[in-house]
Symmetry: C2
Subunit: 583 residues, 2 copies
């Protein structure tokens, strides 16, 4: 059982995932990992959770000096930097600690659970620094990645524009060549960047913007499509101490995630913002995409963490709130609501969603660490759209259930569960919406190159075999394999269909595929749990909880796969071919 002291994630569960299931000790010193996790849990609770409400009510503000954010955010990130957590995942030669992504992800989940908006700053900074470290010149790495790895400067990703959200081909930010210096090919950038998280703030020494822009051709026109996109480093403050030509045109007022200043940035309102090209022209999208798996797993992980904390909150509330009596009992004192079957059903659904989401993201993080192995990379590519969307949709579902368990109290801002729900609603949108992920899964990852499917199938079959050898899990695996067969049959039908109709129901396909993947993730966990030494009572309860959650997922969730595939298999074009006038 989650301990009363587990405010963010269950410590036992995190250990279970890292050690018992994913064997992190094979590649990393187990004690180091545990120390990092304990440190993260403590820092997150002390310095991130403590201003969760405050960062919601005191939104970032904008004046002539720029954007001001809640001072506690800066203080929290100071502690994060002091603990070396900005540097954790980077190579030692860059000032990092060379920890595997899996350990970093497990650490990060605690901060996201405590305060996802504050945690967004280091998440973006790490992604930014990692990109520069991977593709920048040594001088660029020294000048722009190192201060971020040290946690002194923060970073942003400037992709979207007001007219270019999901479709980056629409980008109009223009980069004019402006000579060369020790930091590389210099350009002058002009354009408007929208939805820039951490686009400005007053807590870091500098802000390193990574800007996607197009270099005009000889005719002065911007190239069409995404092929002409290049990536530029445009710091808020230039190396000579002067302000770059980047200004905050406005703040977006969001429903949640409010502590993360989200800006409309104008580049080059005056002479053009100075930006140094990363790598070669035209490589921008490829560079971004090489970071995309990690970024999308981080989004999924944040969503999982938000769902997870709401599970722990409702578990606690359900044990404290007295209301009603057991079925058939009319008199006597009211009981804690956890004794009502419907509340317990909701809690077990939350557990299946939250723990399943976390386990999936940690599994994918392990695949990131295995990037030398082509099979692992292929499997990671296939699973990434699921790691992004499933926790975003079902972590949110766990948040929704948390409100329901809290009843009227959960609808008030006196409790945290409504804010967790609002915060999490961003996750199905940013870093590629669910619809975009569905196209990615079905198009790029399956129909264009289905080579990863057999790898996943082999994983499912191996888990099934292990499960069937365990008495208390018998009977589960066949329904998972049956669901997988339904997916395969559906794909066969889709591949026979004209391409322009194959994607009409890509999203229901993603839902079905995601549930099968989660069935497998739950079976993996159940097998691992069943093999634990259960002589101690707490271990026995923990293992039983995992197995019950797995069984609940198979009873109540897996049957939905067939329902979603109905529309896909029927090749229903009811929506896609509906004349606009019929809506």
């Amino acid at each position: 059982m989650a301990e009363a002291t587990d405010k963010l994630l269950s410590r036992r569960d995190v250990q279970f995932c890292l050690h018992d299931w994913l064997n992190i000790g094979e590649t990393t010193d187990a004690e180091t990992v545990d120390a990092i996790i304990d440190l993260s849990a403590r820092l997150a609770e002390e310095h991130f959770l403590s201003h969760y409400k405050a960062s919601d009510t005191h939104e970032p503000s904008l004046d002539a000096d720029g954007v001001h954010i809640l001072p506690q955010i800066g203080e929290a990130l100071g502690h994060y930097a002091d603990a070396g957590l900005f540097a954790a995942g980077f190579a030692e030669e860059l000032g990092g600690f060379d920890l595997p992504f899996l350990a970093c992800a497990a650490s990060f989940a605690h901060f996201a659970a405590a305060n996802v908006a504050t945690a967004a700053y280091p998440m973006l900074t790490a992604a930014n620094a990692r990109l520069i470290a991977a593709f920048g010149s040594p001088a660029q790495v020294e000048a722009f990645a190192r201060p971020q790895i040290a946690g002194e400067w923060f970073g942003t990703m400037c992709l979207s524009e007001p007219q270019a959200g999901s479709s980056l081909a629409e980008i109009r930010t223009r980069a004019q060549p402006d000579g060369e210096d020790e930091l590389g090919q210099r350009y002058r950038l002009q354009g408007n960047k929208m939805w820039i998280s951490g686009g400005d703030q007053d807590v870091s020494g500098n802000i390193v913007h990574l800007v996607l822009a197009k270099v005009p051709g000889i005719d002065g026109k911007l190239p069409d499509g995404t092929a002409g996109l290049s990536l530029f480093i445009a710091p808020k403050i230039l190396p000579d101490g002067a302000r770059n030509d980047v200004s905050v045109a406005g703040l977006n007022h969001k429903m949640g995630y409010r502590g993360t200043a989200n800006c409309l940035l104008n580049f080059g309102e005056n002479n053009g913002a100075i930006g140094w090209l990363v790598g070669q022209p035209g490589e921008g999208l490829r560079q971004m995409f090489m970071m995309m798996n990690e970024a999308r797993i981080s989004v999924g992980l944040g969503a999982a963490a938000l769902g997870y904390r709401s599970y722990l909150l409702s578990l606690q509330y359900a044990q404290e709130r007295l209301q009603g009596r057991p079925m058939g009992v009319r008199d006597g004192e009211p009981v804690a609501i956890i004794h009502h079957p419907d509340v317990r059903r909701m809690l077990l659904s939350q557990k299946a969603y939250a723990e399943g989401s976390l386990a999936l993201c940690l599994y994918c993080a392990k695949l990131v660490d295995a990037h030398g192995d082509p099979d692992s990379t292929a499997l990671l590519d296939l699973l990434t759209p699921i790691a992004k969307t499933w926790p975003s949709e079902y972590g949110l579902a766990a948040n929704d259930i948390a409100i329901q368990i809290h009843g009227g109290y959960g609808y008030t801002r006196e409790f945290h569960v409504e804010q967790l729900w609002r915060d999490n609603r961003l996750n199905p949108i940013h870093e590629g919406t669910t619809g975009i992920q569905a196209m990615d899964l079905l198009g790029r990852k399956i129909l264009r190159d289905g080579s990863a499917l057999p790898l996943l199938k082999a994983k499912l079959e191996a888990a099934a075999k292990r499960a069937e050898s365990i008495e208390e899990l018998r009977g589960l695996a066949p329904s998972m394999l049956q669901a997988w067969s339904a997916i395969e049959a559906c794909l066969q039908q889709l591949s026979d269909r004209p391409a322009e109709r194959a994607f009409d129901n890509a999203t229901p396909f993603l839902w079905a595929f995601g549930h099968v993947v989660l069935g497998w993730i739950w079976l993996e966990q159940a097998v691992t749990a069943a093999r634990l030494d259960r002589s101690a009572e707490t271990q026995a309860h923990f293992a039983e909880g995992k197995i019950r959650a797995c069984r609940h997922f198979f009873d109540s969730e897996l049957p939905k796969v067939a329902a979603w595939l109905c529309a896909v298999e029927a090749g229903s074009d009811t929506a896609a071919t509906a004349p606009i006038e019929t809506f």
Copy 2:
């Protein structure tokens, strides 16, 4: 198609439901109905929609004088009263216009769509006045119902207490006899009432509280359970002009629905609040429950309306927002996102949810009007938990999709869709949570007295027969009847099960039952649409839209029935029997 001028609900759709489908002209003058609907749409847009954002950002405040609400709310309700809408559904001898509940419901849906928090005041006032009119003495009706029917005073329902939410047996408010006067048996009330919507405000002349309380026995103790509950009228200002002993102990700060002041009220902090008994002692719960069908339909209707407006907003946005290109096209100008199959799928899901919810609630409203007919009353009792929950869950799902279609913009407070989502999240909670409705459906309405089931089955079969006679609908009805058979088979299994385990999965059963009911509601609409005169193009498009939404519901939603029944049929007690320590 919904017209661009339809900001709240589609005028054509409301007319379709009222006239083409539910034949309101059989009982009420059609022109009068249309005039009321047009007036409602206009007033709602001019005076309710206009302060939608303001009522969210300027929450009610509390000072020594009591609760202050946004002045525009009072102005809007003044227009509502001037138009006679408080009086619409009441008998002429009470100063009303004797309109059927169906017409009142269709009118009300516009106000809920425009501003559900402002609309809550007249909804509660009507329910309060209706209860007094039904059970109060002539003097009570004169003193307390009439001013509400005139829209001069507003009313509240004081049921919940901090320790008594879903379980009214826990109520501790105490009513001590205090003589008798021309308004009836007088009592002194003492207790705390929680979650009181409209519990205080500064826009109506008086506030009539209907208070559920217990009369202590000779031993001074309050009776156990709900049998001892009685209902009292406790106005804020007494007939002699003195303030009653009712004070506002606090305001609840909600996530949404913020314009509705939601209070913790203390009754009798000094000498006891004066309250007059309605009817006889011990009849409180029965009286409340006789109003419950209408109150629950009104909640469902509000939820439907919130979902409906979010559908219209995303339909408009999807036609204006340019982004991306059709499948396989790489160059050229971006297209409106409504041209993308996934957006169209989302819109059709919204249409199925929103129009289906509205249609269900209006159907139930018609059953309210047929209260003289026992079969209609039995059917209404059976359908009420669905009318309460289905729109609450799927109207909310439509709100969620609206945010997704708006992308990042939908997550900001510059647009309305995020507020519609926050507002609607209350509806699965108040007036009986989804879990409570599930117990009501399965326990009280089906297992205890299954006599309404054959009535519903006959409705389904009749609709199926009509549908099968129409070429373009052929093939739909059998899947609905099959889903119904699955429900019946499941009930057979449940009735063989020990009572204490029969309710473990009452909520998944409710979901399954609800989807079958909605399948039928959609088939009813499709049959009606198919029979419309479709010679005019707009009519043809309207009818095709209804039929496509029906088909989409059958393709994409109805298959979920089998998935939900899986857990119920398996008699899964995985959650219910899980030791607390395993969570």
